[in-house]
Symmetry: C2
Amino acid sequence: MKIKAVDPFYLRMPNITTAADGTQDTLLVRVRTDTGLEGWGECDASPLVSMAVYCCPMSHGNIIDIRTSLIGETLDSPDDVLRLSEKVLRNGLDIQQIQHAYSGAEIALWDIIGKKLDKPVYCLLAELSGTSDVAHPKLPYASVLFGDTPEATYHIASGLREQGYRAAKFGWGPMGKFDAANDIALVRAAREGMGTDAQIMIDAGVVWGVDYETAYQRAEAFAQFSPTWLEEPLAPDAIEAYGALTQKDPSVPIAAGEGSNTYRMAEDIIVHGGVAFVQIDAGRIGGIMPSFQVRQLAEQHGIQYVNHTFKSHLSLASSLHVFATNRDFDLLEYPAAGSELSQCLVTEPFPVESDGMVRVKELPGLGVDIDTEAIRPYLAPVRIEVGGDTVFEQTLL
Amino acid sequence: MKIKAVDPFYLRMPNITTAADGTQDTLLVRVRTDTGLEGWGECDASPLVSMAVYCCPMSHGNIIDIRTSLIGETLDSPDDVLRLSEKVLRNGLDIQQIQHAYSGAEIALWDIIGKKLDKPVYCLLAELSGTSDVAHPKLPYASVLFGDTPEATYHIASGLREQGYRAAKFGWGPMGKFDAANDIALVRAAREGMGTDAQIMIDAGVVWGVDYETAYQRAEAFAQFSPTWLEEPLAPDAIEAYGALTQKDPSVPIAAGEGSNTYRMAEDIIVHGGVAFVQIDAGRIGGIMPSFQVRQLAEQHGIQYVNHTFKSHLSLASSLHVFATNRDFDLLEYPAAGSELSQCLVTEPFPVESDGMVRVKELPGLGVDIDTEAIRPYLAPVRIEVGGDTVFEQTLL
C-alpha cells in the first residue's frame, strides 16, 4: 500500500498555564494509506514548532519536510517503517526538531502496519528483534505534581491511595525552590499520604542544574522515606554532572532521560551519566523504534527502562508496546491527573485492572481508537503562508 | 536599555535545489532596543521551523517562545546576555529546536552590547573569560562541494588556486557514493588542482553512517595526498563509532562537530568521539557563548577549534569573534561559492588580505552591517495563524 496523507492536528485546552502539565495541549499525527487504513501517533512537543517540520520549504538536501519524505511511499512491512524512518531523518538531518516532530508519524506507521498484519505492535517488535513476544503486566504509578505545600501534597497522596494506587510519582512544583527542609517535608508528606506499603518516586524537575552536590545531599536526606528513585535532579544536558553524582553512589537511585531527543542522548545518559532508571518518551525521541533500541541498551547495561508519559492514553499505548515483553521492567508511568482533552482522547483508556496492574491491549496496531468527536472542540486550526504560498492548512478532523 | 523588538526574517533564492549548499536560504534575526540600537544574527537552520520557536503558543512552563522571553527585558551588559540566554533556554526546555532558533537572537544581543560598549565582541569575550584580547589572523580555506567527477573537481581546485587560496575543503557530492577508487580519485584531483603547497581538507558529508571501518580505510587511502583532515566520515550521532575510529589512530586526523546542536553534543564528540578538530557553527549551537565554551574545552583538550560556516559573512563575523584570540586555532572556514543572497548580505564582506589572511574587524559589535536594500528582494513574508489568531506576521525589512 501507499501513504496517501500525513496530517498533524494541534489540539489544546482553552486556557494554558505555566504549570508543568504536559496535557494542556498536544500534537496528533494521522497517517492514511490508499487502502483505507489509518494510524495515529502523539508527540510530546511544541505543536506549532513540530507542525512546521511537516511543511517547511526545502532549504537544501538536508532540510526536507516530513510530508515530502513520506507521502507516496510504500508501506507494507515493519522493514518499510525502518526504511522510511531512515529517509525522514536523513532528509531532516539539519532540522533540530526532527525527532520531536517525527515521533507522531513514526508511531502512526507502526499502528498501520499492526492493523495490516493483524498483530499488536509489541509482537512486531518481538519478531524484528528475535525476542520473546509474551507481554507482562505493569504496575502503574500515578504521575502527579507536588502540591504547593507539604499539606497539599499529603492530600494529593492520600487521595491517590484511596483511588487504589500502589505507586505514585510526585514532581516539579515547589521541589528545590525553597530550602532543604521544605524539600524534605514534601517527600515526607508524599510518603505519609501514600502509606508505607506503596512505592513513591520523586521528580526534582531539573531544579539543581549542574549542582550535583546538592542533588546528592537531597538524595541522602530523602533516603529515610525510601523513594524508588530521585528523578531529573540535574539539567538534561548535564551528563558529566550526572556522572559525578552517580559515582558518589547516592542512597536513592537516580532516574533521568525524558529529555532524550535522540537515541544518542539516551545512550549518553546511560553510558556516561550512570543512571539506574532511564525514562524515555516515545513521543520525543523519534517514536517506537528508537525507544525500543534504548530498552535493548538498558537490558545490556542491567538498568531499568521506564516510559515517560505525560500526555494521553494514545501516548501510553505507544509507550507500553516498547517494553511490554520485559518482565523486569515492571513500572509504568500512568498519567493520573491530565486535562479533559487528554482524558477524552481515546475511546477506551487503559484501565487499572482488579490486580492493580495495567496491560498492553491484545489488539492490532497500538490497540486504541481516537475519539474524534470528543476531541474536535479542542482543535486549533493552523495556517502557514510563506512567500505568498500556503504551505500548511489544518485538515479538518 | 530595554529590548523592544525581536524580528526573524526568512530570505531565500528563487529556486532551491537539493544540493548541499546552505546558502540557498537563511534566517536573519534583528533585535532592537528602546535606545535605537540594533543587532543582527544569522541561523544555519530551517527558517520556518526556527521562526515557529519565536512565536509558538505556550504549551506549559517549558514551552515558551523566544520573543516572550526577550521582549521588554533589560540589556545593558554581557552579563545580561548570559542571563537572557539562560532564561530563553529554560523557558524552551522542551522545544528541541531551541538552540537552532535562538542562535540568531543570541548573536544579535552580542552585536548590540558591543555597539553599546564600543568594543568588538571578541574583546567582550576576552574580558568575561579573563583571557588575551589580542586577535590573530586566520588562514581562510575555501569551502566548496566536490565536482561530480574527478575532472570537475580538478577544475574547481585549480580555479581556487588561481584565485589565490592556499587552503580549500572539498565536500559532499559524489564522495562515498560509488567505490573506493572514485573516492580516491576525487581526493587526488583536489590535491593536484590545489598543488602540493596548499592545504586540502576532505568533507565526507556523513556518508558512512556508523561504518567506522570504511571510514578508517578511506583515511588511510587518502593519507598519500596529505589532507589536513577527514571531516564527518560518520553520522553526527555516531559518537561510539567516532570513538572506535579515532582509537584506531588513522593517518589523517578526524574532524567533526558541525552537527552539534547543543554544547553537550560538542563536549560528547570531543570527550567520547576523540576528534582532533572540532567544528562549531555558532548559528546552530545557540550562538556565540556556547561556541566560546566549546573553544575553551578544545583548549583544555589540546585539540583545534574551527568554525563551521556555510552562510553569509554575517555568520563569518560571529564565528570569527569566538576564536580570534587563539593564535593556534589558525584555520577559518570561508564560504567561497555562496548564493547571490549570501554574497550581498553584508555591505563589506571580509576580504582575503594581501598576506592571504582574514582578520576580525576592529569595530564595535560584530563589525558588519546588513545591506537591507540588497537583500530585500529575497524576503519571503511569513504569516502563521493558530486557532484564528495571527501569532506571527513578517515585519517588513
